[in-house]
Amino acid sequence: MQPIAVIAALTFKEAARKKILWMALLVGLAFLVLFGVAHHYQTFRSTLTPLVRRQILNTQFLVGLYALNFLVLAMTILTSVDTLSGEIASGTIHAVATKPLRRWQLLIGKWLGFVGMLTIFLVSMVSGLALVSRAIAGHSPYHLMRGLCLMWLEGVLLLTVTFLFGTIFSTLTNGIIALGLHGLAFLGGWIEQFALLTSSERVASIGVLASVVMPSEALWRRAAFEMQSPLIGALGFTPFAAGATPSGAMVVYAAAYTIVSLLLALRLFRKRDL
C-alpha cells in the first residue's frame, strides 16, 4: 500500500506547489461571493407567496450548482489530462516506474490523488453554496446529499475516462477526447429534453444513445431531478430535467462505466511501453 500512498501524496503536493489548489479555492470563493451577493440583493414582489419564493430560490440554487458542476468538470479534466501522458512524454515516469512498485499501484496512486482533490473541492463548494443559500436567503435545498453523490460520480467518471485515454494518447489529444465526449453527452441531454417536449421519440433515442456513449451529463440531470422541489417535480417542469429524467439504471450504468474504464486503463497502462 505504501507506494500508492506516496504517489497519491505527490499528486496533492504537485497541486499545492503549482498553486493549482489555491487558485481553485480562490475561484471557488469568488464563485460563492457572486452567488451570495446575488442572493443578498434578490428582492421579491410582496404579491409572491412563500411557496413560489421557495420554488424560485431552489431553482436559483440549481443554477448555481449547474455552473459549479461545469467548473468542477473542467478543473478535473484540465488538472489530470497531463498526468500520465505528460510524464510518459518527458520521461519523468522512468524514474518512478523503475522503483519496486507495480504499474497498477502507480496508476491507482495518481487516480486516488485526483479523486481526493476532486472530492475536497466538490464537497467544500457544494456545502459553501448550500450555506450561502441558507444564511442569506433562508433556503435549504432538497436532497443535497443525493445530488452531491451524483455530481461526485460524474466528476470521477470524467476523471477516469481522462486517465484511460491518457494511457494511450498525448496530452492534447486526450484533452480533446475527454472534453469532446462530455460535449457530446451535454448536447445529447438537451436533444433528449427538447425531443420529449415536442414528442419526437426517434430524436429522443439519439439523446439516450449519446448518454450511453458518455453518461456524464445524465448524472447531472439525475442530480438536478433529485434536488428539485417536490412541487416542480410534480408539475414536471425544470430547465434541467424536463420529463427526460435519467433512470436509476442509467446511474448504475455510469458507475459500471467508471469501473470498466478504470480497469481498462490499468490493463493498458500495465502493457504500455514507457
Binding site: P3, V6, K13, E14, R17, G91, A95, R102, L274
Partner: protein, 307 residues
C-alpha cells in the same frame, strides 16, 4: 555459471516496435560484480535493451532475469538503481525532497533516507543546492541528482544510461569515481554509452551492439582476447597480394609502403609473414598493435554496414 551469480541474464530478447526491430535476439550474461559496458551508435537498441531489463518495455519474445528474478517482478527492482538518459523529475521538488520521494518508493525507512540523502547530495556535489527546486537546476545538476537517486537504495545492480551526457569534465570524473566505488562495494554496473574513452577506463567487459544485435563481446583491462591490428612496412606490395590477406584479416589498407589490417589473433602472424615472403614482398617491419577500443568499435560497427 549459476543463475545466482549472474546479475543479468537474457535469452533471445527481442523487441519490435510495429515492424521495426529495436532489439534482435539479445543474449547476455553479466556476472555479479562486473562493470559491463554496452556500446553502440545512436539508435542501436541500447536504451530499449535497458528498458526491457527494467520492466519499462515488454519484450516481444525472449526472457530476461535481473538479480535472479524475472524483469516482470517489481520486487527485483528493490535492489536496482537506474539513471535514465536525460534524467527528469518533477521540477517543483527540491533536491532533498526528490531523494525523500525516491527513498519512500524504495520502501526505505524515513530515518535512513534522511542520512543517506544528505551523504549522496554531498557526494554528487549538490550539498549547497539541497533545498533548491529542480526547475533552477542546470542539465548537469539534474544528471547529478539523478545519479544520487540511482544510488539511494545501495543497489546491487545499477543501470546507467549515458551517465555523462550533459556533464562537464569534473562531472565525468565524478561518474568514473562513483563507478569505481560501486565496484569496490561489489555492485554490478551496466553502463550504456557511446563515449568509448569513458568505457575503456571504467569497464571490465564490453559488448558492441548495432541494429539491435550484439556484434562482439570483449574483455578489457589486460585481459585482451588478442584482436590486433597489424602494420607491415614493405616494398613490392600489390593489390592482389593485399586481397590475399583477407584469409587472415580484415580492414585491409595499403598506404604507399605501409600495409595495415586487423586480425582476430596474433597466432596467425607467422603464416602471414610466410605468405608475404612467398609472394615476393620485401618485408622491412611487421608490427602487431593492440587495438584501442575506439579502433575496434569502428572496425566492428563499421564493418557490419556491409560497405
Amino acid at each position: 555459471m549459476g543463475t545466482v551469480d549472474l546479475a543479468i541474464r537474457t535469452r533471445g530478447l527481442r523487441k519490435l516496435f510495429g515492424s521495426q526491430v529495436a532489439v534482435e535476439g539479445l543474449s547476455l550474461e553479466v556476472p555479479r560484480g562486473e562493470i559491463f559496458g554496452f556500446l553502440g551508435p545512436n539508435g542501436a537498441g541500447k536504451s530499449t535493451s535497458i528498458k526491457m531489463l527494467l520492466g519499462l518495455v515488454t519484450p516481444t519474445s525472449g526472457e530476461a532475469q535481473v538479480l535472479g528474478r524475472s524483469t516482470r517482478n517489481a520486487e527485483a527492482r528493490r535492489k536496482i538503481g537506474f539513471l535514465p538518459e536525460h534524467f527528469q523529475f518533477y521540477s517543483w521538488l527540491t533536491a532533498r525532497e526528490l531523494l525523500r520521494v525516491h527513498g519512500r518508493l524504495y520502501g526505505m525507512p524515513r530515518a535512513s533516507v534522511e542520512g543517506r540523502a544528505w551523504a549522496l547530495l554531498e557526494l554528487v556535489g549538490l550539498g549547497a543546492h539541497a533545498d533548491k527546486r529542480l526547475r533552477e537546476f542546470s542539465k548537469g545538476m539534474l544528471q547529478r541528482i539523478g545519479l544520487a537517486q540511482a544510488l539511494l537504495n545501495e543497489p546491487e545492480l545499477i543501470f546507467l544510461d549515458e551517465p555523462t551526457s550533459g556533464l562537464d569534465p569534473l562531472g565525468r570524473r565524478l561518474v568514473r569515481d562513483i563507478i569505481k566505488a560501486q565496484r569496490e562495494r561489489g555492485a554490478t554496473v551496466f553502463l550504456n554509452s557511446h563515449l568509448l574513452s569513458e568505457v575503456e577506463i571504467t569497464c571490465d567487459r564490453v559488448a558492441f551492439i548495432k541494429d539491435g544485435r550484439v556484434l562482439e563481446t570483449r574483455q578489457l583491462g589486460g585481459r585482451s582476447d588478442g584482436a590486433t591490428s597489424v602494420i607491415v612496412k614493405a616494398r613490392k606490395l600489390s593489390p592482389d597480394v593485399a586481397s590475399g590477406l583477407s584469409r587472415w584479416g580484415s580492414s585491409i589498407r595499403i598506404d604507399g609502403d605501409q600495409l595495415s589490417f586487423a586480425v582476430a589473433s596474433t597466432d596467425v602472424l607467422p603464416d602471414l609473414l610466410r605468405y608475404l615472403v612467398a609472394q615476393g614482398v620485401d618485408v622491412y617491419e611487421l608490427r602487431p598493435q593492440q587495438l584501442s577500443l575506439e579502433e575496434r568499435f569502428v572496425q566492428v560497427v563499421g564493418e557490419d554496414r556491409g560497405l
